[in-house]
């Protein structure tokens, strides 16, 4: 943690902000140079990044491995579908404004139960609870549409100023929606950055690294873990809300436990021990999966091999390995 204190000095922070703005500008300009399919894929990638960002607050910063985050993604997605079907709401802003609190309440509820345990029991408990939702979505077909799922057509954006009907609507929607998701993504990154660098975030990391010592310092461990769980689930829920209009359909698949496995995979791919890891992982996983599915029938095998190799050879993930490399190259001068 010594290195962390060093990086809180003024200059690297400014550099970091500059780098972030640069990445944001590149992301904003990209749609002018790439095809529609690529824009759509990139949107999926950003959504996966938000999912992983939320997930990683639990795994990377709190040290709790959830194998049930599909639940919150699914809660977000199904909230949108229900809001559309039962309340006739078509506005994306209303989906977010109503859906995020629903995701937050459900996360608080799940978290309240799950944070009583840690380690493997925490993982299994989150898994079991998420599968309750899955089996309900599957079996209560008169509410959820069963395996057919629920259709969600294109909503209106920005309080109804952008509507998508008539010719060329699909293209316009994909383009506009990309910027919509990009804005949400940027906001999420900033909020998460503030959270993990706040005293609250530092407390989470202290609990992760040494629970006993953190308790001696007077931290209320369970309360901290619960709030971390709540925030994590809410972020993932927002990702589900953003995902559903793009996909046009929500099915129980996104509540099934292998989807939770995908989320864990994403975080590991980028590296869960640093802030940017899950973001890179989310984008990379989306592309990896899209191209694996396109090139081979046995794409699961490909993903499985990548995962096993990651764990065996590159346990810190891609970002972790890169930053270790950079640190090695850079002369060790700033250990003041």
């Amino acid at each position: 943690m010594k290195a962390d204190i060093a990086t809180i000095s003024y200059r690297p922070k400014l550099l970091l902000a500059l780098a972030a703005v640069l990445v944001l500008v590149v992301l904003a300009l990209l749609p002018f140079y790439i095809g529609l399919y690529q824009v759509q894929l990139l949107t999926y990638g950003l959504i996966a990044a938000i999912t992983a960002l939320g997930f990683n607050l639990l795994l990377g910063y709190t040290g709790l491995l959830s194998f049930g985050h599909s639940a919150f993604f699914g809660i977000g997605a199904y909230s949108v579908a229900f809001l559309l079907r039962d309340a006739g709401i078509h506005s994306m802003e209303l989906y977010i404004l109503i859906g995020v609190p629903i995701a937050a309440i459900m996360s608080a509820l799940f978290g309240y139960i799950c944070v009583r345990h840690t380690r493997i029991f925490f993982g299994i408990l989150t898994l079991a609870l998420s599968q309750v939702l899955y089996s309900l979505a599957l079996k209560l077909f008169w509410i959820t549409g069963g395996t057919d799922g629920l259709r969600v057509p294109r909503p209106t954006l920005l309080a109804g100023t952008l509507t998508f009907t008539g010719g060329g609507a699909y293209q316009r929607f994909v383009q506009s929606y990309y910027y919509y998701v990009l804005a949400a993504f940027a906001l999420c990154v900033v909020i998460m950055w503030v959270i993990v660098h706040s005293p609250f975030g530092k407390a989470l990391q202290a609990i992760r690294d040494n629970e006993t010592r953190a308790r001696f310092l007077g931290l209320r461990i369970r309360r901290f873990r619960w709030i971390s769980f709540l925030v994590s689930g809410t972020f993932t829920g927002l990702a589900g809300i953003l995902w559903v209009p793009l996909n046009g359909l929500t099915t129980p698949e996104i509540l099934y436990w292998p989807f939770s496995g995908d989320i864990v995979f994403t975080a590991l791919l980028g590296g869960f021990r640093n802030f940017t890891g899950p973001i890179v992982g989310g984008l990379l996983f989306t592309y990896l999966k899209a191209y694996a599915v396109a090139t081979t029938e046995y794409w699961q095998l490909l993903l499985g091999v990548v995962l096993v190799l990651l764990v065996l050879v590159l346990p810190t993930g891609i970002v972790g390995a890169l930053s270790a490399m950079v640190n090695k190259l850079r002369p060790q001068e700033k250990t003041w």
């Binding site: 491995l65 309750v132 079996k139 499985g304 995962l307």
Partner: protein, 292 residues
Amino acid sequence: MSILIIQILNSLFYASVLFLIAAGLSLIFGVMRIVNMAHGTLYAIGAFVTAWLVGRAVAAGIPVGWTFLLIPVGAGVVALIGAVIEPLLLRPLYGRAEEYQLLVTFGLLLILEDGIRFFWGGLPLTADPLIDAVPSIHIGDLIYPGYYLVVIGIGIVAAIGLWLVIYRTRFGVLLRATSQDRRMASALGLNVGLVYVSAFAIGCFMAGLGGAIIVPSQAAVLGMGIDALILAFVVVVIGGLGSLQGALVGALIVSFVRTAAIQVLPEAELAVLYLIAAAVLLVRPTGLFGSA
């Protein structure tokens, strides 16, 4: 009345298969502290191998009675796969955080699922000749397949056999010693690597046997392992991870509750099971029989 008897027999049949899967999972966790997410897929491989072998044997004109011997062969193949996996993929990870162990077995699950698709394609595979070979029995005025009773028998024999191995043999002592304190066992000159590989292979054998005995009554299909894994989780969570008695009691509870739920409230069939598991975890995190 005869309906009730049939439902009880069905529950016991189901419990036998579930016990085999869950006991393997529990054994592996008990000895190696690894939650094997690929366990359900190993069960599916047992089903596919057996169904494929039976199909070959029947086509080659071998009398059906002999094909019963293919059930342990199918389970043995899975045990061999396990004996390869443990030293290759799991051994490098024992010193590492448990997230990594979980993830490597999840990767293994993805690989093995596609392996099944590669070898046997996406079509279901059946082994009906076996179920027809055992005469049906009459319960009241209803007919019940005798094969189900054979499976219940295999389940009981497996439970007793496993108990004998773990609590009454030298190997069982080594297994329990390693499970309790790996370092101490190693310091006393015990070949821990050998114990681990045998424990993992036995666990895989149990899963494969579960698949092998269920396949004559229902076809082997893609994705059967993913469903089974979650049920096996529910069983070990209720009974306690790493406990043999727990796996037995858990399998019985899950089977009877599931059979009852299908009768009373079919929509909630699975949800009820997960809720029971969550409730047990809340009240007794280590399960009904777990200790650690």
